[in-house]
């Protein structure tokens, strides 16, 4: 009896997994993307834009020549 149960279990196809299991149907993948996306979708903070402008200005001034 015990052996029969074992045989039945063995005959059941093993769930096939995709390589990373993070695809469209994966709960973990979806949660991960929702979490990440929530930050990614926020507007870029002004301080970053200001910094970028400053870096650009400094570079232009430093080079002293028109690009």
């Amino acid at each position: 009896m015990k052996d029969k149960t074992k045989m039945n279990e063995m005959s059941v196809p093993r769930p096939r997994r995709t390589e990373d299991g993070l695809g469209a149907n994966s709960d973990i993948g979806a949660k991960l993307r929702a979490y990440y996306g929530a930050v990614q979708d926020q507007p870029i903070p002004d301080k970053f834009l200001d910094l970028l402008e400053k870096l650009d200005e400094v570079e232009r001034a430093g080079k002293g020549k028109a690009r």
């Binding site: 039945n8 005959s11 059941v12 196809p13 093993r14 769930p15 096939r16 997994r17 995709t18 390589e19 990373d20 299991g21 993070l22 695809g23 469209a24 149907n25 994966s26 709960d27 973990i28 993948g29 949660k31 991960l32 993307r33 929702a34 979490y35 990440y36 996306g37 929530a38 930050v39 990614q40 979708d41 926020q42 870029i44 903070p45 301080k47 970053f48 834009l49 910094l51 970028l52 870096l55 650009d56 570079e59 028109a66 690009r67």
Partner: protein
């Protein structure tokens, strides 16, 4: 044309949202993440000559940010990781298909992972990098990257009590098969 924006600047700008999301994923805190992004921007700007225009700027920037993150961690020494409550507050005003609690739970689960597994699962599952790119960013072998992602996924599934994607169909089938055999 003096007003024409150099494309390095434009590409850096375009990568910022994703870079920021990666920084938050790594550090777990918005304030630290933003400092990290700022440091990364300055570092990247200073060495933009070493960047080959037309190659993958996103991977290049992620590498800089990651290195910066770990070097800051080393400098600070061991520090108690404390995730900011501001994160969940921000999440509550953000439209999302998941609830605020879900998001907080997920953050906690993510924090429970070893750092190498956390970055691996984020780079592959959310940032959209290939295993090869992620391995290069983390300076490890592709096989190592794959096993980190796999371990991270399994652990997150256990902690959050959810099943993997392959569990739906085959489970129904196996139930049928079992019933049939009896």
């Amino acid at each position: 044309m003096a007003d024409e924006a150099p494309s390095f600047k434009r590409e850096l700008l375009a990568t910022l949202p994703s870079l920021r999301a990666f920084a938050v994923s790594l550090s777990g805190r918005h304030d630290k993440a933003d400092d990290l992004v700022q440091d990364t921007m300055m570092k990247a700007w200073a060495k933009q000559d070493s960047f080959q225009m037309g190659t993958n700027i996103k991977a290049w920037l992620f590498t800089i940010l990651r290195n910066e993150f770990y070097s800051q961690m080393r400098k600070r020494g061991r520090e108690v990781q404390d995730t900011d409550g501001a994160f969940t507050e921000r999440m509550s005003v953000h439209p999302s298909q998941y609830g605020v609690m879900d998001m907080a739970d997920f953050r906690k689960a993510l924090d429970g992972l070893p750092a190498d597994q956390r970055e691996a699962v984020v780079l592959i599952g959310a940032s959209g990098f290939s295993y090869e790119e992620a391995a290069e960013i983390c300076n490890c072998a592709v096989g190592t990257m794959k096993s980190r992602v796999s371990r991270a996924r399994t652990r997150l599934q256990d902690v959050l009590g959810v099943k993997g994607e392959a569990d739906y169909g085959p489970d129904a089938v196996s139930a049928q098969v079992t019933a049939h055999n009896f």
